[in-house]
């Protein structure tokens, strides 16, 4: 099947007149591991909430597993595992009671897997949810989401509060899910190293727009940071397309550009720079550059496996 598991069309959302999402277009095909990055309050969580039908869009439409988000049936919910930011668990209940509730209401429950997870994470059944540490609540939330063997896993900052060991356990769990055929994961995280490890494709939100949407491995080749030194002064009329950031000091100019290719290199050559060297950019560097106020979208239309 090659249908899109998650689809967002021209999504816009306003809260009290303030624009939070401004024309988002996104497609996540089946089997893709999609990492959503963005600074705090950039619109990631809002998009996810709208996808799940918890909020209504101001404009545009969103689809999950082929169904409009405002119309999701119980069956569709049963095929989706969701870990919300802040962990939407009923705080007053004891863990055991919460688990039983989930177990009884779920369409498909893998008891063996769930018990294995509870043992791995060593979660106590008789404690109230509000008395668990944040990390334990994260583990519980994750276990509940995975125990239903979901087709689609939506994780909003799933490792919040987890210590290093548990975070690694979570990554290994995610890998296990990926290994199963046809599973899709959409997750937000602030921990770029985690995202780099498991994502196939990256989306970066900045100021309500999706400024990056491309395969992870291409991202590093598409965004380039160049250090250009001119023999005399920097030319006044220097113009290069798709420049994300430009800093100049004396004869030196640092250009961060996207979709760099031969053409742009040729254009740069016409200004006759004395030297032009490339500065390495890690994912973190790219992220910081792309989330600055002036951004050029990096879009890759075709999805190639």
């Amino acid at each position: 099947m090659s249908e899109n598991v998650v689809e967002v069309q021209n999504l816009a959302k306003y809260f009290d007149g303030r624009c939070v999402l401004d024309g988002i277009n996104l497609k996540v095909p089946r089997g893709c591991i999609y990492g959503l990055l963005g600074r705090n309050a950039s619109g990631k969580t809002t998009t996810i909430r709208i996808l799940l039908g918890h909020e209504r869009p101001t404009r545009g439409r969103t689809f999950l597993l082929g169904t409009d988000s405002t119309n999701l049936s119980a069956k569709i919910h049963g095929r989706i595992g969701y870990v919300a930011e802040g962990h939407n668990l009923i705080q007053n209940y004891r863990v055991g009671r919460l688990v039983k509730l989930c177990k009884n209401l779920s369409l498909h429950w893998n008891d063996k897997f769930f018990n294995h997870l509870m043992e791995t994470f060593r979660l106590p059944m008789d404690r109230r949810v509000k008395d668990l540490s944040m990390g334990m609540r994260a583990q519980l939330n994750l276990s509940l989401a995975m125990a239903i063997d979901p087709e689609l896993l939506i994780l909003d900052d799933p490792t919040l509060g987890m210590d290093t060991v548990v975070r690694r356990q979570f990554l290994e769990l995610a890998i296990d899910v990926i290994q199963k055929q046809g599973r899709t994961i959409l997750f937000c995280s602030h921990i770029l190293s985690d995202v780099e490890r498991i994502a196939d494709r990256i989306g970066i939100f900045a100021a309500g727009k999706l400024v990056v949407d491309c395969p992870l491995e291409e991202l590093k080749t598409r965004v380039r940071k160049l250090r250009v030194i001119f023999a005399e002064a920097i030319p006044q009329n220097l113009y290069l397309p798709e420049v994300v950031n430009l800093q100049s000091q004396g004869r030196e100019m640092i250009i961060t550009a996207v979709n760099w290719n031969q053409q742009k290199q040729a254009i740069l050559e016409t200004y006759k720079p004395a030297s032009c060297s490339e500065l390495p950019m890690s994912l973190e560097d790219i992220f910081i550059e792309c989330t600055k106020p002036i951004s050029i979208p990096i879009q890759v239309e075709k999805w190639e496996m």
Binding site: Q179, I198, L216, T221, M305
Partner: protein, 131 residues
Amino acid sequence: MQLRIDNASDRPVYQQIIDQVKRDIALGRLAKEDKLPTVRELARQIAINPNTIGKAYRQLEQEGIIVTKPGAGAFVASLDSNLNRSVRKKLISEELERVAVDAFHMQIDGQTLLELFNNAIEKFNFPSIKG
């Protein structure tokens, strides 16, 4: 096979895997016909998306560095010495560039540097190994 992914690197993860496999082979840590871990095993071991590892393995196979035998797994190919040598030469030239940059900053001129280098070669009684 010990792989380390560097998140501060400017190289994509799959490229880092390729680089490290090549490096291990070049340095003799992986010998001809050694079995590489399967994609699944490696994915679990270093917590990396199996698709990324799969891509790295595919490219390594394209470049003729590894061979995959259906049902058996991936093995280091019987490399001809040329490929090995070119990788090694590249590694060394990168190191030498770094030394050259350091020398520049320490204001040691080219002539002095060459002298120092010859001293080093003599000191270590540099063997003339081929391949």
